[in-house]
């Protein structure tokens, strides 16, 4: 491998460019952090001084905890995300495995239909799904919030593609040994396909955690809302009178995501599969 030593001005320019763009990415949150920390809010609109908090303290954060059911929202987000991940895996793993390793009439049709919907706008399904969910009596319930997201086309696609990589010999050997197909799946195929299953779990978790629109439509009770909807409603409603309070709440909402992302960024930056965009 040949390495041409980069001359330092070029390297410096590269790092300068990278830093400028990094600033562009994080400046809204740097300001939010500074505003949230500033005990004296008089300077928060005076730039660039606003990026350094005056009289720093945790007062605004304490007020957010006191005035907003923040941990209720976090708990709801956790419940919804956990249910979604469990449900998506429970549905798409067997489905993808069957599409990859079994032969049955209608296999191509099913996979084609699922592929087709990958490109269609899922947002237009919101109204019909709301009608369906209300007929099922599931409005304002966790099940109703999770159910429409479970048959993930992306999940089926990813599982099918990855289960195809598991050597058919290994699977057939287990079958010949008399293992039931269900056992072959969970004892042989899934352990050999753990990276893809893990990738799907993480992508599903992020999507579910960030889902805003459907929970906003399906929930009426404030204490059932996930963080994406509850915090947004509070910040654009009763809290909007105090910028400091809004920014403190924003920082609190973003921090868990940043921490989680820091631990899993490898999956996103060198993806084995493409996560959905939003």
């Amino acid at each position: 491998m040949m390495r041409v030593a980069p001359r330092w001005p070029l390297l410096g320019a590269r790092y300068l460019g990278m830093s400028v763009f990094a600033l562009f990415t994080v400046f809204p949150f740097l300001w939010a952090l500074s505003v949230g920390l500033a005990g004296d809010p008089s300077g928060i609109w005076h730039f660039p001084g606003a990026f350094i908090p005056a009289d720093p303290g945790l007062g605004w954060f304490n007020r957010v905890f006191a005035e907003m059911p923040f941990f209720t929202y976090v708990g709801n987000s956790l419940i919804l995300s956990a249910l979604t991940v469990a449900g998506v895996l429970a549905l798409t793993v067997p489905c993808g495995y069957a599409l990859a390793q079994m032969d049955f009439p209608g296999r191509k049709l099913l996979f084609g239909a699922i592929l087709l919907t990958l490109t269609l706008p899922s947002e237009v399904a919101i109204l019909p799904n709301f009608v369906t969910i209300s007929r099922l009596g599931l409005v304002d319930s966790y099940v109703g919030a999770v159910l429409p997201n479970l048959a993930s086309a992306f999940g089926v696609f990813l599982m099918k593609q990855s289960f195809e990589q598991v050597p058919a010999d290994v699977i057939d050997a287990a079958r010949v040994d008399g293992a039931s197909e269900w056992r072959v799946l969970w004892r042989v195929a899934v352990p050999l396909n753990l990276p893809a299953v893990g990738t799907l779990a993480i992508f599903t978790l992020v999507t579910a955690w960030n889902d805003y629109l459907w929970p906003a439509v399906v929930f009426f009770t404030r204490t059932k809302l996930p963080i994406s909807v509850g915090v947004f409603n509070d910040l654009t409603g009763p809290f909007s009178v105090s910028t400091s309070l809004v920014m403190a709440a924003v920082v609190m909402s973003v921090v868990p995501v940043i921490i989680g992302f820091a631990f899993t960024q490898r999956l996103f930056l060198a993806p084995q599969a493409l996560p959905a965009r939003a």
């Binding site: 990415t25 609109w45 032969d103 197909e181 947004f232």
Partner: protein, 295 residues
């Protein structure tokens, strides 16, 4: 491809739960929209009546639907901007320099932040006295104190939405370009370098031919994304200041106007447009999908 001892029945049992949920919450909504498009839907009584193309005539006459279509076309302007930005970023960070993971992760961060929370912060960035107007004043584009009311004015609010989309999604496409760049063989680059090719020549003749399929894929994903712009508008402007988009129109017609028929008609039209774009995608990509794994 005979599989020993697996009856189709077993396969159907494996597929059935997923297929059922898929049928009810993905396929049925499309059929339901197609049916709603030709109905008057009376919410209170849940009665419906066939009304031919009346819903489409409503759309044809609707001022806000026209604005939505115009905005969808204008939002396509973000496609080249985001792609150029993403490719530039990818070229900037594709070499394994110290600290490079930190920069890549930072650029990707907006993608994993909830759109609603990000929207709240950006409402304040776009505030009359916010950072953006201050920055423009510093650079000298605006006279101090002469700020643009980004989210309220009908001319600028769509620009604000575009800026937000650029910020939110450029990191996503950067990663796709990074994957593409990683597939460019190092030997080719080195051979070109030994032949005395400059930076631009190497990019133009070695990297770009291999990266072009990625660029096509990204552009099409980005096109569909731009057409689907909706939640970004909902959390930034709630559709004020002429920022109506097709999906926001559907949402409003359904949940504010309670006109399910019109919502269904708009959904049907929009789905058809997306199908056309997807068909175009398949035509252009064919079997050359750069992200398809080889068997």
């Amino acid at each position: 491809m005979a599989k020993p001892g697996v009856s189709p029945l077993t396969a159907y049992l494996f597929v059935a739960p997923c297929a059922l949920v898929f049928a009810v919450f993905t396929v049925w909504p499309m059929l339901f929209n197609g049916w709603l498009a030709f109905q008057d839907y009376f919410i209170a009584s849940r009665n419906t009546a066939w009304n031919d193309f009346a819903n489409f005539l409503v759309l044809a006459d609707s001022q806000s639907f026209h604005i939505a279509l115009r905005n969808a076309l204008l939002l396509l302007l973000t496609v080249p901007l985001i792609q150029a930005g993403a490719l530039g970023l990818a070229l900037l960070v594709h070499r394994p320099l110290p600290g490079i993971t930190f920069f890549r992760a930072t650029y990707y961060l907006p993608v994993v932040i909830t759109v609603s929370i990000a929207g709240v912060v950006w409402q304040y960035v776009f505030h009359h006295e916010g950072i953006l107007n201050w920055l423009l004043g510093v650079v000298g584009v605006l006279a101090p104190g002469d700020g643009v009311p980004w989210l309220e004015s009908s001319g600028w609010s769509l620009v604000a939405v575009m800026a937000f989309c650029f910020w939110k999604y450029v990191g996503y496409y950067m990663v796709l370009y990074l994957v593409g760049l990683a597939a460019v063989p190092r030997e080719l680059q080195e051979a070109a370098m030994l032949d005395g090719a400059g930076t631009w020549a190497r990019f133009r003749h070695v990297v770009w031919p291999l990266l072009a399929p990625v660029a096509v894929l990204c552009s099409l994903l980005s096109t569909i994304g731009a057409l689907k712009t909706f939640q970004e508008v909902l959390v930034l402007t709630r559709g004020e200041g002429d920022t109506m988009t097709p999906l926001l129109f559907v949402y409003r017609a359904a949940f504010s106007g309670f006109n399910f028929g019109v919502a269904g008609a708009a959904s049907l039209l929009f789905t058809l447009v997306c199908l056309i774009v997807a068909a175009l995608q398949l035509r252009l990509m064919g079997r050359h999908n750069p992200f398809k794994r080889d068997e």
